[in-house]
Amino acid sequence: MASRGGFLSTSVGTKLLIGVTGFLLFLYLLIHIGGNALIFFGPAVFNNYAYVMEQKNPLLPLIELALLAVFLIHAFKTVRMFLANQSARPVPYAMKKPAGTPSRKTLASSTMIVSGLWLLVFLIIHVKAFRFGPEYDWPAGGRDLYRQEMENLSNPLMVLFYILSMTVVGSHLFHGIASAVQSLGLDHPKWTPRLLFAGKVFAVIIAVGFMIIAAWVYLNQPGAGRVRV
């Protein structure tokens, strides 16, 4: 049987776990960007969405916990795997070059651990600011998340950090989505190439989408003239 830790502790099991959690995080990002995009429709729509999600959803604490667990497992497993992989090649090459097609190696794939750790830091800042930041009441019920977002992204340095982090998200997903597909053992001569391409498209959509939102928020601070997108 598999080694002591059981099914998910082997190299293949680890990969599966990282793939599944990564894929779930990707799905979460899809929902997240959909919700955030409502900001373009003004405070009423945006805050109402937040109100429904937060107040009318008894499962929210469970979902939050699950999301946290998924994220932590993903982070913990990858870091541990990264460290183990380092000891698999104790003596480095004096010269090492990418092998070219059909390798899927890219800058993105080579920096997963860096982009991942960056995102860990980003998320701590991000969650602190939005989940645990100052709260304002919205007269129609719930928080005034719109105002919170406006305030959080009023600082140009913060906006820059956000935009940079979204590039990192894009990079992480650029390899990550395709990688998850492979990690889950999905493979078909016709569908796999399409799936891999779709993954890259999604990576770009998510990264660029969030960037646009951040930029839009910065450029549409209350008091400033509204900029149309």
């Binding site: 990969k15 183990a84 190696k105």
Partner: protein
């Protein structure tokens, strides 16, 4: 043409190694890469200096013995070839060529460019076979196997066990090697009775040998002299999941 070589020299498993420069002069473009090294070695031998140790045997790309990382790529720049099939016409006068051994904790250096790949044998010993004793086999045509299945199994079975996949992988993972054998037996009906035991045992063995995990970069499939694709690794994952879910 004349070349400048930088070659890894290491006296023994415990000794420290280093890159040493050699000149390869009057190299003919028709020479194979290993013949170029033969000529350098013959020069060294005549001078009473120790020859550069490197592994090779069949010199036609099937035995899987040769194992050189040439200018940063296992088996060198050509696709679908072993180092022994690489020819010097691929290089030009004045080129500098760095030659290193496979590098992996599970492939310790024995001497110079020679590594110990017995970990691969132990992975096969863990389950890379069909347990049939000699003698009791049914007629060869007793179980028909669709041609496309047999062909796909042959694609996987073409692995020569050279270890280039491990050498190229940033994690020194043996997943492509293992998955090729697991795929062959997952595809063929003869492999089915033991499929669950096989996949778990082989993965456990590879992990225990100190090979790394897989990051799905696919450098392995790009350097594989038999161009074995990572779809085998996906198949291995499916086999593994099935084994875990269906094991009693």
């Amino acid at each position: 043409m004349n070349l400048k070589l930088r070659i890894w020299r290491q006296a023994g498993p415990a000794a420290a190694g280093r890159l040493v420069e050699y000149a390869a002069d009057h190299v003919s473009p028709d020479m194979s890469f290993l013949e170029m090294l033969d000529v350098v070695n013959e020069g060294l031998t005549k001078k009473g200096e120790e020859a550069i140790a490197f592994d090779s045997d069949c010199r036609e790309g099937i035995c899987g013995t040769c194992s050189l990382v040439i200018n940063g790529v296992p088996h060198g720049p050509d696709r679908g070839t072993t180092a022994c099939q690489l020819h010097m016409r691929r290089f030009k006068d004045g080129d500098s060529v760095t030659i290193e051994p496979w590098r992996a904790a599970a492939f310790p250096v024995v001497k110079d460019l020679i590594v110990d790949r017995s970990a691969f044998d132990r992975i096969i010993a863990a389950g890379g076979y069909v347990s049939v004793n000699c003698g009791g086999a049914p007629d060869g045509n007793a179980i028909p196997i669709p041609k496309d299945v047999a062909d796909l199994a042959m694609d996987s079975a073409a692995c020569i066990g050279c270890g280039a996949c491990v050498a190229a992988c940033k994690n020194a993972s043996a997943h492509l090697f293992m998955s090729a054998k697991i795929s062959q037996f997952a595809l063929l009906p003869q492999g089915h009775p033991e499929r669950h035991r096989r996949v778990t045992a082989m993965i456990a063995q590879a992990d225990g040998e100190g090979f790394g995990s897989c990051s799905n970069e696919g450098e392995c499939q790009a350097v594989c002299p038999k161009e074995i694709p990572i779809s085998n690794i996906a198949r291995m994952t499916r086999e593994y999941v099935k084994a875990a879910l269906l094991a009693k």
